[in-house]
């Protein structure tokens, strides 16, 4: 029996006290597609970095076609025929496709552009990739750049190809094409590792290795498993789609009356918006991105001021107050762009957790109370399961899911009356999404009025009591989440008015 193309045995890699990969063992045969499936931060990226020479494993063995390898740089990996297709393209925008590809593979003084181009065209033809070798990368669409990134790896006859979430930038057609290319590569005897968290793609692989907290929790043949089983393995428990609980709703907590916010152009960002959210209610905001979700959240939080109209919280008018005054009345705000608006990358977790409160409870005579900050961080890291070596870790080093937990931890403390969440689950995996939904329900049970904007309509329907739909800054209608369906919300999102008001 021939050796598998790649065999990884008991691979371990730690960063400080965080175990990114622990005792990872798996193999890939020539002509096989293996999928690495796991949540954000489960250790997939670290593993691929170990396989491509970017990181050196602490222990364990990597063998290629039966021969143990010690990879100490990307050059080693390339020399042994291990190719990586990066999730975020690593290309020179100012170079042509051809120039991007030949760097590193030419040995003479002058680049032999003619023969390199001939070879590239031949590869493009055999895999059915349509791209102009002499086009500058910055002039290409994002989808075409993905092909350029793939061609970098195809150009040097890789034996093992690692694809790191390659379909994130491709449309449906592009994804299909990618899987046709993968089939051809398999037929040519290339071993392929696909890193993804899309279940549909996982099911197209031959086998799946599921990672959780840095360890392989199981390897399954796709023919013998189901998406449900894989999800369960990935999160380590059963995921029931959370649905709203019938908490009795109280009186109106947050009320908007004819709120209008000016836009940059003729059209206002928000046009005559009126609604109210009750105690213990989750109010959803649906709409195509850019139809006023962000101005709505910002005007309630006091970041922007309405041109006209009144916003009140428990009968106190807040539309004239500043952000800090509003937040200290009991409003938490999870902003849309977590790194740009919710966190400071170069601050530690401890520091990020007190942002906005740094003049209040955490200050002592104009100086920060470090002990109190550390205690606060310690408590919240445990309570919100933030995976980080310590409270002093810089937030910029956290995964998207953990960064979002830091914002959650901070804002949930503040949200004693109102919680605003704009796209809180975007780009996160099911485990974190589930956790965030649980947090929202906890707030609902405490009697907080929750406003959530999301592009995941099914989630909104499952979570919310009522859903308001925005279209070009106008509230097209408010529907009862118990009685509505995707079609009705879809029509409203497209600008069709509701026939019967709720």
């Amino acid at each position: 029996m021939t050796s598998p193309t790649l065999e990884v045995t008991a691979l371990c890699k730690s960063f400080g006290s965080v175990r990114a990969n622990h005792d990872v063992t798996f193999s890939v045969d020539a002509g096989e597609l293996l999928c690495l499936f796991g949540e954000n931060g489960a250790g997939k990226s670290t593993l691929s970095a170990c396989l491509t020479g970017l990181y050196r494993p602490d222990s364990g063995e990597i063998a290629l076609e039966g021969t143990p390898l010690r990879l100490s740089s990307a050059a080693d990996a390339i020399r042994h025929g291990i190719g990586l297709v990066h999730q975020h393209f690593v290309l020179v925008p100012d170079f042509t496709v051809l120039e991007n590809i030949v760097v590193g593979s030419e040995t003479g003084l002058f680049v032999d552009f003619a023969s390199a181009e001939a070879r590239l065209r031949q590869i493009c033809e055999s895999y059915g990739i349509d791209i102009d070798p002499n086009a500058r990368v910055e002039d290409l669409s994002v989808g075409e750049q993905q092909w350029a990134e793939l061609l970098k790896a195809l150009y040097f006859d890789a034996k093992l190809l690692i694809l790191d979430e390659p379909t994130a930038t491709l449309d449906v057609e592009g994804s299909k094409k990618l899987f046709r290319i993968i089939d051809k590569l398999k037929a040519d005897g290339v071993a392929i590792i696909l890193i993804t968290h899309f279940l549909e793609e996982v099911m197209q692989a031959d086998r799946v290795a599921v990672l959780r907290q840095g360890a392989v929790v199981g390897i399954k043949k796709t023919a013998e498993t189901s998406p449900e089983e894989l999800t369960r393995m990935m999160v380590g428990r059963d995921l029931k789609r959370q649905t709203r609980q019938s908490t009795p709703m109280g009186t109106a907590r947050l009320a908007l009356e004819s709120v209008t916010v000016e836009g940059l152009g003729e059209r206002p960002d928000l046009d005559d918006i009126s609604f109210c959210v009750h105690e213990g209610e989750i109010f959803g905001i649906a709409g195509v991105a850019g139809n006023g979700q962000r101005p709505l959240m910002e005007v309630i939080a006091g970041v922007r001021k309405p041109k006209s109209g009144i916003i009140s919280l428990d009968d106190t008018v807040i539309s004239s107050k500043g952000v800090h005054a509003i937040k200290s009345m009991g409003l938490g705000h999870i902003p849309e762009d977590r790194f740009a608006e919710g966190l400071v990358r170069d601050f530690s977790i401890e520091e990020n957790l007190i942002l906005g409160e740094h003049r209040g409870t955490f200050a002592k005579g104009g100086l920060l109370d470090f002990r109190k900050m550390a205690q606060n961080a310690k408590r919240l890291i445990a309570e919100f399961s933030i995976a980080a070596p310590s409270g002093e870790t810089l937030v910029g080093n956290l995964s998207g899911g953990n960064a979002q937990r830091v914002i959650l931890a901070r804002e949930m403390q503040l949200a004693s009356k109102v919680l605003l969440a704009n796209q809180p689950t975007r780009g996160l995996d099911v485990g974190v999404i589930d956790y965030i939904h649980q947090c929202l329900f906890n707030k609902k049970a405490e009697g907080v009025a929750v406003v959530i904007a999301s592009s995941e309509l099914e989630d909104l329907i499952a979570l919310c009591d009522r859903i308001g739909v925005l279209f070009q800054g106008r509230l097209m209608g408010i529907v009862d989440a118990r009685k509505t369906n995707l079609e009705e919300i879809g029509l409203l999102m497209a600008g069709h008015a509701l026939e019967t008001a709720v």
Binding site: A49, Y55, A75, V90, V92, D94, F95, V102, G104, L109
Partner: protein, 310 residues
């Protein structure tokens, strides 16, 4: 004023401009390659000054312009190594490094020169001769301007197309540009960013040192403090005004050199405009060029951004 426009004087201005351009052109081409590799080297002025002093010392000691040039190249490379250690290895801010290095070079060359001279008179030597190219030097006008120059001027002019081809068509040129555009790309290809940035700095600083040597050998018979007189800064401006392209950078250098030459001739001819006005022209032009040519399309994307390896 009209005396300046007589054919003989104009001719003389152009001939002298080619020589003056040589100094700045060497430094500008060196800086261009360095910047294409992503290093915003602000230490050109200091590097040139060190090149000047070393060339002077060797020329005064041995009388050999070749040895003096080689020594200045070596001195330039030492300067490049220091700047490389600061910017590439220690990832210090490129501007701070360059400014610091210039101050160091200014003080160090003065100290070195003073201790060399002691209390006595600084030794001097005769400047090098031009090397007319047989046949071509006899062409009217153009022959005098282009083909009756110093050997190093020919080398500087030839370097322009050589560097253009180097950057476009050679493997090393492509890798140098990649280091300035997207260092992570090089790393992913298994190529060292630091090696290429050091190489670019060594090459660029060697050329700058050579420019300093030419200034000493062709124009000055002895060293003076801060003799480089802002030519290193003009080289940096020429690269920006030239949009990081060799040919355009040369054009910017020629503009500075012609204005500089004009200033010298204005003093000689005795124009009744204060000569300080003419002395100011190259520097006014440098600001003017930067205002007029605002296109930065050729600027390397990661120019001046210290690169941190994974």
């Amino acid at each position: 004023m009209s005396e300046l426009l007589s054919p003989e004087i104009l001719m003389s201005i152009m001939v002298a401009a080619m020589g003056g351009a040589t100094v700045i052109l060497f430094a500008a081409l060196g800086e261009l390659v360095t910047e294409r590799a992503g290093i915003w080297n602000m230490g050109v002025e200091g590097t040139m000054l060190v090149g000047c002093l070393v060339a002077y010392l060797v020329m005064a000691g041995t009388g050999s312009p070749i040895l003096a040039s080689i020594a200045a190249i070596g001195a330039g490379m030492v300067a490049g190594l220091i700047i490389g250690f600061m910017t590439v290895t220690l990832r210090v801010d490129h501007f701070v490094t360059g400014l610091g290095f210039n101050l160091l070079a200014s003080g160090l060359t003065l100290f070195w020169f003073r201790s060399y001279v002691g209390g006595g008179k600084p030794p001097s030597y005769s400047t090098i001769d031009t090397v007319p190219i047989p046949g071509l030097a006899d062409i009217p006008i153009l022959g005098q301007i282009l083909f009756n120059q110093h050997l190093l001027t020919y080398i500087a002019l030839l370097s322009v197309p050589v560097i253009a081809v180097f950057l476009r068509r050679t493997t090393f040129g492509l890798e140098t540009r990649a280091a300035g555009e997207n260092p992570q790309f090089l790393e992913a290809k298994g190529l060292s960013v630091a090696t290429r940035q050091y190489a670019a700095l060594l090459f660029g600083s060697a050329l700058t040192g050579l420019g300093g040597a030419f200034l000493m050998l062709a124009f000055a018979d002895q060293f003076r403090p801060d003799i480089s007189g802002g030519r290193g800064w003009l080289a940096i401006v020429a690269v920006i005004a030239g949009n990081w392209k060799p040919l355009r950078t040369m054009a910017a250098v020629l503009i500075f050199a012609i204005l500089d030459s004009l200033a010298v001739h204005a003093q000689g001819v005795g124009v009744d405009v204060p000569y300080q006005f003419f002395l100011m022209l190259p520097y006014v032009a440098s600001i003017g060029l930067l205002i007029l040519i605002r296109s930065r399309s050729g600027q390397p994307a990661k120019l001046g951004v210290p690169y941190l390896r994974h």
